[in-house]
């Protein structure tokens, strides 16, 4: 096993924001999972995937684990998704219907909690 990549967690207005790299896969998913689960302890959490162009099942696994934990803490995990490739993966896996998605970090941080899924629906 390679040493895990460390994912920095930035606090923006009291909300932890984890930014994912261009590729999220089996080589760095453990590090991502650790950062996400730590942040999901706060309840509210934003994962900024706007730079990400590839996310495999290991990456999805980390996101889903954090999503479940955030829900259990009474909060929610919000995704910022910009790339078509990642949007496509979330559509195929159905995750776009259960994890709220936003097109910008600003939006993810300011939108009130009311809906789930990506906007606009496609």
């Amino acid at each position: 096993m390679m040493p895990d990549t460390v994912f920095p967690v930035e606090m923006v207005g009291g909300v932890p924001v984890v930014t994912t790299p261009e590729q999220v896969d089996i080589t760095n998913a453990d590090g991502l999972r650790a950062a996400l689960l730590e942040s999901a302890g706060h309840g509210q959490l934003v994962v900024d995937m706007s730079r990400t162009e590839f996310c495999d099942t290991a990456g999805l696994h980390a996101l889903v684990a954090a999503h479940k934990q955030a829900l259990a803490e009474g909060g929610e995990l919000r995704l910022v998704v910009a790339g078509a490739a990642v949007q496509r993966i979330f559509a195929i896996t159905g995750l776009s219907r259960v994890i709220p998605g936003f097109t910008s970090l600003q939006e993810a941080l300011t939108q009130p909690r009311s809906r789930t899924g990506f906007a606009p629906p496609s």
């Binding site: 162009e53 495999d56 889903v64 995750l95």
Partner: protein, 408 residues
Amino acid sequence: MTAVDPVPVEARLRDIQSITDAALSRLDELGLLAELLDRIREIMHVDTAAVLLLDASSGQLIATAAVGLEEEVRQGVRIPVGRGFAGRIAAEGRPVVLDHVDHTTVLNPILWDKGINSMMGVPMTAGRKVIGVLHVGSLTHRRFTSYDIELLQLAADRAATAVQSMMAQADRVASTALQLSLVPSALPEVSGIRMAARYVPGRGVLGGDWYDVFTLPSGELCVAIGDVAGSGLAAAVIMGRMRSALRAYALETPDPGEVLDRLDRKMRHFEPDALATVLYAVIDTAREQMRICLAGHFAPVIAVPELPAEPVRAAAGLMVGIGDAARRPVTTVTIPPGALLCFYTDGLIERPGELIDDGLARLCRVVTAQPVETACAAVMAALIGSEPARDDVALLMIRRRTEGDDDA
């Protein structure tokens, strides 16, 4: 404590050499652990030495090798992380020295029954993770020095390397055996249908890709393919459970959506951390129609004679392991005579730095309504080529026979 170390340099070198001796690496890992414990006992003048390994799933340390304390291993001693002597070392990730041993300091009664007076233990680490504990004990009162701790830590590092390689090897052997028992070794002979398949593990590590083909008492043909998140033995075990559960639900209900719904509920209850994509389809006895349901998996590609191949238009449904009130849609697909259905896992079409649709388009260009073995070979050659696959690849081709068809 003492500022001057009483151990002469030559003795130190001899001690260190005894532990790092290259001859040790010629032993298999369990042999190495036993030999290492023997040498530790000798050079450190202690009476007992033992290795406990962390079982991550239970959060317990399990006695794996011991000298002077063999009953620890024989009785399968388990110590929860955080409790007792070894549990504290694992929880804190640093050495612990005990100058008296009784029920207040040590959890395992074997250690106090044995009459051990002083103990010292260090964590075994790989990367930044604690994978076990190495401890030594003395029947007579003993004040362990910083030199003793250093030496024991050196031995623990050596043992950790051996254990890592032992566990990786065991995981590989077991998951390979399991995987081979799970993916059908021979596809069933079914009327009106020809089938061929490929399974290639990625980078020598088995992931959680699987497929299954079986008939129902009605004569209908069922096809399942999926990808369990994770790799190695853990993923293979979950895969095996999913495969059996899906077969059981397939016998109970004709609706593919209901089968996946039950499978999802079963997985969420018994394997709450598992996440998987699954495709499940039922082909009727005339082999004219297929009812298909997707749980986060790619729709198959269909190639009809004389037409370009395209992905089957089946609505997406949520992956297994998340939970959502919505039912996954079931789509009915017509299979014209001679048409070829290509089921696959993401390893076939996903490449970093490339859109999935590009990979999918590449697949559609290669799939044509031809005999299944030729079709498999053509797809593997075009999409995998001679590069070692970075992820598992599972591929299953099913073709509806035409009259006078000689697809063998």
